[in-house]
């Protein structure tokens, strides 16, 4: 069965993905996503069943320790700092 995606569903998905959609011309994007979703829909017929999904691939590792970043190194990455703490730019406007 062909997958169908509405503009409302696309907008809802964009909210979940925390992305803005381009203004106008959503039909093209909907068509591309429908094409990709159609393609993966075929997987439901493969395999016949009984296969367990691949789980986490973690392999037990040795007890090596990683040197943590120093406070100076962390602060060097921050946009700004104040008294040894990360200070990010104001987000919300003044009341």
């Amino acid at each position: 069965m062909k997958v169908s995606l509405t503009a409302e569903q696309l907008k809802r998905t964009a909210v979940l993905a925390k992305v803005s959609l381009p203004e106008g011309g959503l039909e093209g994007l909907i068509g591309q996503l429908e094409q990709l979703l159609d393609y993966v829909e075929k997987l439901k017929a493969f395999p016949p069943g009984g296969e367990e999904p691949v789980g986490p691939t973690s392999i037990p590792v040795g007890g090596g320790k990683t040197r943590p970043l120093s406070q100076e190194e962390v602060l060097a990455l921050a946009p700004d700092s104040y008294r040894g703490q990360v200070r990010v730019p104001r987000v919300l406007p003044d009341e």
Partner: protein, 469 residues
């Protein structure tokens, strides 16, 4: 090059200056770098020359310059993932592979598809990299810049990353050797992830011999990467110079029939050569390639949506002035169309309870089982990397057709297998490549067969005419 450095016939500084000059000259044509890091490269070269003068014992690659795909963290050097989202981000640490190659002068950070999503390098926010064989054509993706630099002689070697074929396909389009190691063989600590269950760091070099040298340096267990394999690393150089006699090599006739005439003929010829060398070609069936691509689409997009959720402009990266917190989050996530499409697909794939993602993983398990069974019958698989040579940048296919570029490379990522792309011919002036795939952690088999191939052919010695002049 390494011998010249060790013998004192050339200094690392001279070598680095030479590659920097070539890089600067070709950057205007290829746009293969996002940033050229000449000062850092020359500082490293100077340090290595001084150590060599003092008679210090140095590694085999010490003093040999390199380029790195710009999704590999480099301390003090911007790491952009070719995205506006990471504008201004300068990592405070080196990735594990960069630490291991710390004696190699870093020429620069190579262009790529945005967040390594793409097969053409045209989704980069810094403009597409171009193919040195024909700058109107794609160098492949996502490690297109890394491959173009090696092909054009701008870097002796480069590192890329391979999630669905992103080292091998660019290697094929640019006519260089491209190696994707087994999942777990090379630490991914410090790599900005696309799809963590599929990503692997890979190597791009002019030859298999060079590839073995680089792989030897970067392979090995790293406790900082939870997926790193706690296995010893064999001496890869010992595999060079061995024969293919007695090796069983699987070849799928249906796959050959689906390739362009040039690629099909080149692979058939390669199979005949391998037989002449004593290899045994065994006809095999690969009836799961389409399903592998579907599983890849589900898994990679869902994992990408999760990986990229961390970019919100709060701690680092691009951050616009916004009146509300919600608008600031949204405004910072300025992804290009390809990434946007994959994020939306990823969220759709995660769905209620991760239904589609689990479906993808079930199919993956089935394909892994079939490949394991196949490698009970053969030692290696012989495949194309892609079914055609490099396409023009102005005739990029639709999104689904673009994913078909990875049809023959994806199985290695799903199953964590090592795979090698080797130049094997030309069609209309553009390079063609074959692909060899081996069981997990049998990199040695690939290097043995690859070095045998390159002792009998000269495809890997050919370089774009403009560079040779």
């Amino acid at each position: 090059m390494a011998r010249g450095l060790a013998a004192g016939e050339i200094s690392s500084r001279e070598l680095t200056e030479d590659f920097l000059r070539r890089s600067e000259r070709w950057q205007r044509t290829l746009n293969a770098y996002i940033e050229i890091t000449g000062d850092r490269a020359l500082a490293t070269a100077k340090r290595i020359d001084a150590l060599r003068c003092r008679g210090e014992k140095l590694g085999p690659l010490a003093g040999i310059p390199m380029a790195l795909k710009d999704n590999i963290s480099t301390r003090g050097v911007a790491t952009t993932c070719a995205s506006r989202v990471l504008a201004g981000y300068i990592p405070p640490y080196d990735a594990a592979v960069v630490e291991k190659l710390g004696d190699c002068p870093l020429l620069g950070k190579a262009n790529l598809d945005e967040f390594a999503m793409g097969s053409s390098n045209s989704t980069s926010a810094y403009g597409p990299a171009c193919n040195p064989w024909d700058p109107a054509r794609s160098p492949g993706g996502s490690s297109g810049g890394s491959a173009a630099l090696v092909a054009a002689g701008c870097a002796p070697f480069s590192l890329g990353t391979d999630t669905g074929g992103s080292v091998r396909q660019p290697a094929a389009f640019c006519g260089v050797t491209g190696f994707k190691p087994s999942y777990g063989r090379v630490s991914r600590w410090g790599l900005l992830p696309l799809a963590p269950s599929l990503d692997q760091v890979g190597v791009l070099t002019p030859s298999v011999e060079d590839c073995a040298l680089v792989l030897q340096e970067i392979a090995g267990h790293d406790s900082r990467d939870a997926t790193s394999a706690g296995m010893s690393v064999p001496d890869y150089r010992a595999a060079l110079g061995t024969e293919v006699s007695g090796l069983k090599i699987g070849l799928c006739p249906e796959v050959l029939a689906d390739c362009s005439r040039g690629v099909g003929s080149a692979l058939a010829e390669a199979a005949r050569e391998l037989e002449k060398g004593g290899g045994q070609i065994i006809s095999v069936s690969l009836p799961f390639l389409e399903e592998a691509m579907g599983a890849y689409l589900l898994i990679a997009s869902a994992e990408a949506a999760s990986s990229l959720a961390r970019y919100d402009g709060v701690a680092y990266g691009y951050r616009p002035l916004s009146p509300t917190l919600a608008e600031m989050y949204l405004g910072s996530r300025v992804f290009g169309p390809e990434v946007l499409r994959r994020l939306l697909l990823g969220v759709c794939s995660q769905g209620k309870g991760g239904g589609n993602y689990e479906l993808g993983q079930r199919v993956r398990r089935a394909i892994v089982s079939r490949l394991d069974a196949l490698f009970g019958q053969v030692d290696l698989l012989l495949l194309p990397v892609v079914s055609h040579p490099a396409f023009r940048l102005d005739e990029e296919p639709d999104p689904l057709a673009m994913h078909y570029n990875d049809l023959y490379s994806i199985p290695a990522n799903l199953a964590g297998l090592p795979a090698l792309a080797l130049p094997c011919g030309f069609s209309e002036g553009l390079p063609l490549s074959l692909q060899l795939m081996a069981p997990r952690f049998r990199e040695d088999l690939l290097l043995a067969a690859g070095s045998w191939w390159q002792r009998r052919t000269d495809w890997h010695h050919r370089r774009p005419r403009e560079v040779c002049s």
